[in-house]
């Protein structure tokens, strides 16, 4: 009986998994298939899923019109630097908030959490003024610096460090470790799942960021991928052939990163899930 139940639920769950996976996959597959259709097939009726005359002309056209290498390098600089700095800033801050017992620390925490209630769009104008006065307008540093601090990251680390027993810290202190050593040699390695989770999130946020780079950057040599993509959309019409193939090209680095770090990414969700 139990065995039957098991099998039944396995089949049901697997079916559900397949349906959800297909729902996620379908738009991407359609995008991919559309990108190898010639322009005349994109809107023909009846609509075919498979291209009749597959062609890679769109890709050749798009690679020659758009300077992808430049955009990728810019985006990578921003995404990697921001991610590294975000992880360091969030981990140190989260550690202090979780393990030190000063009177005002919790007030700080509340203040930081309060910032999550303000969407980026709301604080955009003041942030822009600051960037402008600091002379960071039109520089990649102007993209990186405002994005380093995230309340989400700090909160993730704080919650994680709260679960680490204080005894562990005490025994380290008795063994003669100073606070820096405790943080780097003990706490940070323990928090590896959080580090990786936050790194992945942060990298994704920066890779997909559109509105802030659009405001800060004006030099096309510093454009990130997303702004470059957007510039394909014209006033009254859209060059679909160019847009579709460019979108696919812009996905490639993310996919490569996923393949390389796949083990960690999968690992992350498993362990962070256990810890949660």
């Amino acid at each position: 009986m139990n065995k039957l139940n098991d099998r039944f639920s396995t089949i049901m769950l697997t079916t559900a998994l397949f349906i959800v996976a297909l729902m996620y996959l379908f738009p991407i597959v359609w995008l991919l298939l559309s990108s190898i259709k010639p322009g005349s097939e994109l809107f023909s009726y009846p609509l075919n899923i498979l291209p009749e005359n597959p062609t890679v002309d769109g890709y050749v056209y798009s690679w020659s019109t758009m300077e992808f290498i430049k955009y990728f390098i810019n985006t990578l600089i921003v995404a990697i630097l921001t991610t590294v700095l975000t992880v360091i800033a969030s981990a140190t801050c989260g550690f202090a908030l979780a393990k030190y017992n000063y009177k005002w620390l919790n007030v700080f925490l509340i203040c930081m959490l309060a910032t999550t209630m303000l969407p980026t769009e709301v604080i955009m104008t003041p942030t822009f003024s600051v960037i402008l006065d600091l002379g960071l307008y039109d520089s990649l540093a102007g993209l990186i610096i405002p994005s380093i601090n995230t309340a989400t990251g700090i909160f993730m680390f704080r919650q994680y460090f709260m679960t680490v027993p204080n005894d562990l810290l005490e025994s380290a202190r008795i063994d003669g470790a100073n606070e820096g050593k405790i943080f780097f040699n003990l706490m940070l390695p323990i928090a590896k799942p959080v580090v990786i989770t936050l790194a992945i999130f942060s990298f994704q946020w920066r890779w997909n960021d559109y509105i802030w780079p659009l405001i800060v950057l004006s030099d096309p040599n510093k454009y990130t991928v997303q702004i470059a993509l957007r510039s394909i959309v014209g006033a009254d019409n859209i060059d679909w052939v160019l847009l579709l193939s460019s979108s696919i090209i812009s996905l490639v680095p993310m996919i490569i990163i996923f393949i390389v770090f796949q083990r960690y990414i999968m690992d992350t969700s498993a362990t962070s899930g256990l810890k949660g």
Binding site: L81, L140, G180, L214, I232, G234, N237
Partner: protein, 419 residues
């Protein structure tokens, strides 16, 4: 472990310093640019339009050695972008724009001389205090496309010369025949836009919305025309979804299931390259009271305070010269704005002829109104986006009557533009 972190830390700081260092470098180099090398030209949609301006800029560099960098900015963010650059005290040298912001007022170069020297149609530009601050760079016009196959299948004809222009009633009866005899899904589509709707209104004798005394008003024909437009949106002749739900009219026409599409000259290059399943053609638009189109297109502006005003002037003067301008218009498929230009279009040249005739025959109201509205963006503190389209959409959704819609547009314009 500690060493590792120390190393990472040192590495990051080095990269950061290097990064900010290179920023300083580029700042320094852009300072030298100001004195004589790379000049930035902000445009949107150049890649879509055959990279026409990029090619011309390269040609200019070859001839004179002055480098021009064409910066392609997303169309919908162009005005915000340039306004921000002006705010940052770093306006671009040149830009090609369709809209303006009041923050630009007083920052634009007076281009009267350049325009007059090169026979540019100055009445299509924006003149503020007797200074031509934004001459036209290219022209687009509202026009109509038909699906030739559907017309032939149903055995109905459409005008092929200016001698037998059709009326709206004739067009609608042709559409009804096509709907009966073929498997066409709808009769016609029109882009969801103020600009296209205004052309429709002018053709029905409307004078648009204009200032009378201290408020904006319109004539009786506007109401009749809008009521007719509402009737056409009956999900048989015109699908309601295009205006109320934002369905893409252009792709509906490209699917080959809609015989008539009211859009404009900017579609020609796309259709010529991307429609193969059926024959399409540009046709003369029907009229009711008068023949009318609506003009659009880009303006060329130069900014004071870029530090490159002289080079910008020289480039603009060069660009408007007859032979260079003709080359630009050929690459981009633009309708010309200089009086003596003769452009040989590569794709669908007959379609361009129709547009040129259409503009010549159009009631002057179209160009007057358009210029006035664009100028308002520059000199008024507030500007209204697409008031007419928004109100008409509300009316199409049965949220208000046509009378209310007209009343609201009048009020919005009065609030925004009457001091």
């Amino acid at each position: 472990m500690k060493k590792l972190f120390l190393m990472i830390f040192v590495l990051i700081s080095t990269i950061l310093v290097a990064c900010s260092g290179s920023d300083n470098d580029s700042d320094a180099s852009s300072n030298t640019d100001t004195n004589g090398e790379v000049m930035q030209f902000y445009v949107s949609g150049d890649k879509v339009e055959g990279s026409a301006l990029t090619k011309m800029s390269e040609k200019y560099t070859e001839e004179t050695g002055v480098e021009i960098e064409v910066v392609d900015v997303p169309y919908s963010d162009m005005v915000t972008k340039i306004t921000n650059m002006i705010r940052a005290g770093e306006p671009p040298a040149l830009a090609r724009v369709t809209g303006f912001n009041s923050a630009w007022d007083g920052q634009l170069m007076d281009l009267t001389q350049i325009a007059e020297d090169n026979n540019v149609m100055t009445d299509m530009g924006i003149t503020v205090d007797d200074q031509l601050v934004a001459p036209p760079l290219d022209l687009t016009a509202v026009g109509m496309f038909v699906n030739k196959d559907l017309f032939e299948e149903a055995g109905v004809s459409y005008p092929t010369s200016e001698d037998d222009i059709w009326t709206w009633d004739e067009l609608i009866s042709s559409i009804n025949t096509i709907l009966d005899k073929t498997d066409a899904q709808y009769g016609m589509v029109m882009d969801n836009s103020d600009h296209r709707l205004n052309a429709f209104l002018y053709q029905h004798g409307s004078k648009g919305f204009y200032k009378e005394g201290d408020q904006y008003t319109t004539n009786e024909e506007t109401k009749d025309a809008l009521e007719k437009f509402m009737e056409l949106n009956d999900n048989t002749i015109m699908p309601k979804s295009v205006w109320t739900a934002g369905e893409d009219a252009s792709s509906m026409f490209k699917s080959g299931r809609v015989p008539v599409y009211m859009s404009g000259s900017w579609q020609i290059t796309d259709f010529a390259a991307n429609i193969e399943d059926f024959e399409w053609e540009s046709v003369y638009m029907p009229y009711e009271e008068v023949r009318a189109t609506n003009l659009g297109g880009n303006y060329l502006v130069g900014f004071e305070g870029s530090g490159q005003e002289e080079q910008a002037r020289e480039f603009m003067d060069w660009l408007y010269q007859k032979e260079n301008y003709e080359e630009l218009a050929t690459y981009g498929g633009y309708l010309p704005v200089t009086e003596d230009a003769e452009v040989e279009y590569e794709l669908a040249p007959e379609a361009y002829t129709i547009y040129q005739n259409e503009i010549a025959a159009s009631d002057p109201i179209a160009s007057q109104q358009r210029n006035e509205l664009v100028k308002k963006q520059l000199v008024s503190k507030r500007s209204i986006g697409s008031a007419l389209a928004d109100e008409v959409i509300n009316a199409l959704n049965d949220e208000q009557s046509v009378d209310d819609a007209i009343e609201n547009v009048k009020n919005e314009m009065t609030d925004a533009y009457v001091e």
